[in-house]
Amino acid sequence: MTDSPPPSTGASAAGPPVPSAVALSGVTKAFGAVRAVDGIDLEIRAGEFFSMLGPSGSGKTTVLRMIAGFEEPTGGRVLLGGTDVTRLAPFDRDVNTVFQDYALFPHLSVRQNVEYGLKVKRVPRAERTRRAAEALAAVRLEDFAARRPAELSGGQRQRVALARALVNRPSVLLLDEPLGALDLKLRLEMQIELKQIQREAGITFVFVTHDQDEALTMSDRIAVFNAGRIEQVGTPAEVYEHPATEFVAGFVGTSNLLQGDAAAQVFGEPGLYSVRPEKIRITHPDDPAGPDECSAPGTIVEVVYAGALTRFVVDLEAGGRLVALRQNVEESSTDVARHRGSTVLLAWQRRHTVRLSARPGNTTPNDNPQ
């Protein structure tokens, strides 16, 4: 075992040490010359709703598949509940997966799909029937037990996949973009439902998604993936309010970056800074900014009305561009448009400025000569 420093997972709880539900140490996966996953350390606590967030190709699904056992790491170790499972086959691991395409068995009924895991593990028929019925009730599909997957809607299939995994009472449930194929309304419903099921079952959920809203709404903690590495691990608020890197600032939420001369003029010191658009107040150029505020004068170049909000794009006198959001408490679209071309002062609390570390070596190695 290598004595690498333990991954920072925030403050540890007092009491006897409980082994992490999932622990990865130095996990690497190379496909030929491509390193899909590049030396990842991660600890996921028992009972946690943990999201792995990142763009496609960032390695999050590969990490999930290594936890499930579908891929063998090229390097590093995978531990489940403190036991090394790096070389174990999927059927010897106490985890279950909800697949992106659900992967239901098309020739089996909903009930048979749900019973499958119990059947291959030779659970007696009576117990099998009872547990399958419970699992189907938990996802509100009791009335669909006799149907084939082809006769269900997307949302129902999704719930069958969930029941089929949960019926085995795994210590960890892995979910690979399970809501990706659903339409927006259903997705929002399922987000709430998933979160409820997780809380009731008390199972550790490891949830892969490329949707930042999904990750922010559902997770206890989030790991942000980029180019096969983890850029930041933290609670949704930590990741959103205090992005550690430029990538995290840009991927989670709207990117509002200032750098170079503009940054030096606004903040007094050159560097790379981020401010979330909703933190920025738009005032008249003659109004003074508060003592704890940063401010920058500029001109509104674009006004985008988006129903609940209006997005103001402001070119700063110092150079650079910031986006500010304002709730449409009173104004309507015809009113907001007249602000285009106005000179304004942008102001925001000093503590809402996040200085980003430009982490060398963590930038995307996407040097495709094209």
């Binding site: 579908f70 059927f91 279950n96």
Partner: protein, 267 residues
């Protein structure tokens, strides 16, 4: 797509004509097998089953039928085993020459039978005859298998491509060992495609004549060969009609079943 009234009528007529060209001659053969007259006289002078009785008593015909059944079953058995294995190899694994293998497997179906026949004839003569294996049922079976493999391969490969690879992963994820996964997930998914392929393979073999001509020895006569031999004999004409009628009925069954099975929605 909206078609004008004239176009719709014209297309329906064309369809009716096309189907008529295919099926009227077949219907005539069926009717003629019950024709009481010996000389294909039209309209039939009367209906009779005498030719069916005569055909049944024809020993050469019965032997040819058995030979054809044996050849068909043999070729189908080879095709099922090899075609299925090839389908798994091509759809489940990435290897050098995968596309080429796929292409080479399908090619025999498109090659003219006479080319396959001549080539096999030469090959058997060079390779098998020195080993003491003469032309006979065995060579016919091997000859038929070359194109029977294609239909099994095509059917099974198409089904495997439609089966999400995650279904097998899901099975393993739920705790099933490799054999359980094959038995409970993979086999049920390809079973109907496999059966459809086998039926088509058998049907292909059963009516094959060109390759058979070049691979059957003098003592081996399949049903199509027997028909071809007896067609020219005037006294056998009505019996040939009986056999043809029988084959029409026999062919409808496997083709209908195969279509039902391969068209069946995967569910």
């Amino acid at each position: 797509m909206e078609l004008s009234r004239g176009a719709r009528v014209a297309l329906r007529l064309a369809m009716a004509l096309g189907l008529a060209v295919i099926y009227v001659p077949l219907a005539l053969v069926l009717v003629n097998s019950f024709n009481a007259s010996r000389s294909f006289a039209w309209p039939p002078s009367g209906l009779s089953t005498r030719w069916w009785t005569a055909a049944w008593q024809e020993t050469g015909l019965r032997e040819a039928l058995y030979t054809s059944l044996k050849a068909g079953l043999g070729a189908t058995a080879i095709a099922v085993v090899l075609g299925t294995m090839a389908a798994f190899a091509v759809t489940r694994y990435r290897f050098f020459g995968r596309q080429a293998v796929s292409f080479l497997l399908i090619l025999p179906l498109a090659l003219p039978g006479i080319v396959t026949g001549i080539a096999l004839n030469a090959a058997f003569r060079t390779v098998l005859t020195p080993l003491g294996i003469g032309f006979g049922l065995f060579t016919v079976v091997v000859g038929h298998a070359t194109f029977c493999i294609v239909v099994v391969f095509n059917n099974v490969a198409a089904r495997l491509r439609r089966l999400a690879p995650t279904a097998e992963e899901a099975s393993a994820d739920l705790g099933a060992h490799t054999f359980q996964t094959f038995w409970y997930v993979t086999l049920p998914a390809v079973r109907s495609a496999l059966f459809a392929g086998a039926l088509l393979a058998f049907a292909l073999s059963f009516d094959e004549i060109v390759v058979t001509t070049f691979t059957a020895g003098p003592g081996t006569q399949t049903l199509p060969l027997w028909i071809f031999d007896n067609l020219a004999r005037p006294d056998q004409g009505p019996i040939v009609d009986v056999v043809a009628a029988l084959l029409i009925v026999l062919s409808i069954v496997p083709v209908y079943l195969a279509q039902r099975l391969s068209g069946e929605v995967l569910r």
